[in-house]
Symmetry: C2
Subunit: 218 residues, 2 copies
DNA sequence: CGCCAAGTTGACGTATCGTCATTGAACGCT
DNA sequence: AGCGTTCAATGACGATACGTCAACTTGGCG
């Protein structure tokens, strides 16, 4: 076994290093070009032209424009997902669960706005959103966490699928609006979303099991 | 004046009719091809091949693949927007405003699912959403209606921009989930979204003017 | 130092793009 | 109806981007 130095034992070796550097250079160039031209107008050649590499090299790293676009998104998703998961796992109240999720997400978006913008700009008046496998996996994680929280009695017994969808929808749309404002303020966006869902969850649980009693605050 | 028969006075004339028929044929073909191949994989040639027309003709009607895609979406948007507007204008309660909006939207989506699906399917595991000018205009309409409703005292004084974004986000994500389920049920999706926002709006208004009293139910 | 494996290069064949000169049909006037 | 004008359809054509591949360069290793 271990004939290939696929693991990190020895020093990286020049080959490995160049490979990583090239991949990174291509990704970085792609982020800029997508942000400049929009996804639709960008060509693989535009990307490779923004690096010192040759056109054929691109295809050693990615199979198509679509695939590198996915890779950019997946990278973001893999960076944010563990943080979100941690917030939710350690949450001991509904409020902590919801507020932690939104705050973490909005702060990340504000931080990494370059990736986020690159992703959403297409042509002048055309917004795009693509959900890659890693992003969709993030949605599923949220659904699982909601189901767990419901199982633990933290959340009332709601439709976890719909609730996940609602959270996702609000998160992305509010993020968009937040970035559009002059003073990007993740905290206030998170506060808005949290209040919305705290009230919403309470109303939903009253609906599904109506007329128990007037228990109002948490 | 009226040298050109641009308005509907005389009978349509054969030129006009063929033009409308061709445009319609191309749009119809595009809907099918987009649904079959996904937006990314579709070429203008694929679309025109699905009609009896020649390749050059396509460019008499649309400038690009992107533009015809927009046209399909805009058509949907123009069909649904008046209905939404009417619902909201005649609403005399917050509940009517919200429920009317969601029910109308979900029923439309369930009806016109072919367009909706065509729009969202790209490759196997890649979801896409594009917001065209007409769709974005629909968002703005919603924001205006919210502002009007706030002005009338129907809604509490909230951030209309964020609220609009939240409604839009929930509407699109829930629509997606709804279509994915075996029994597409607009009414129950609308009920879910309505309960969420009724509770959410109440909580948000308490937040902005906190500590009034413990009034819980409506 | 020399050999093998891995990776890069850019030219090449293919496919789609968008244009445009040509053609034929609809229109309106007599 | 006959006739000249206008307008849209056609499909061939040059331009552009795609993805591949044989030749070449470089790192790894005895």
């Amino acid at each position: 076994m271990d004939g290939h130095p696929s693991a990190p034992p020895g020093p990286p070796g020049k080959r490995e290093k160049t490979k990583a550097k090239n991949r990174h250079a291509i990704l970085e160039a792609a982020r800029h070009v997508f942000a400049d031209l929009g996804y639709g107008a960008t060509t693989v050649r535009d990307i490779i032209r923004a690096t010192p590499l040759a056109s054929g090299t691109f295809y050693n790293y990615f199979r198509s424009k679509e695939e590198i676009f996915q890779a950019i998104q997946d990278e973001s998703a893999l960076r944010i997902r563990p943080r979100l998961r941690e917030e939710r796992t350690k949450a001991e109240t509904v409020e902590a669960f919801i507020f932690g999720t939104f705050r973490t997400f909005f702060e990340y978006v504000a931080d990494d706005r370059q990736s986020f913008r690159a992703i959403r700009r297409n042509t002048d008046a055309l917004r795009v959103r693509m959900d890659t496998p890693q992003i969709i996996a993030g949605f599923e994680e949220l659904r699982e966490d909601l189901e767990t929280a419901i199982g633990k009695g933290l959340f009332p017994p709601l439709d976890a699928d719909f609730l996940m969808a609602a959270i996702v929808g609000v998160a992305f749309e509010l993020a968009e609006r937040m970035l559009r404002r002059d003073d990007t303020d993740p905290a206030s966006a998170a506060a808005f979303a949290t209040a919305l869902f705290l009230g919403g969850v309470r109303a939903l649980s009253n609906r599904e099991a109506p007329a128990v009693n007037g228990h109002c605050g948490a």
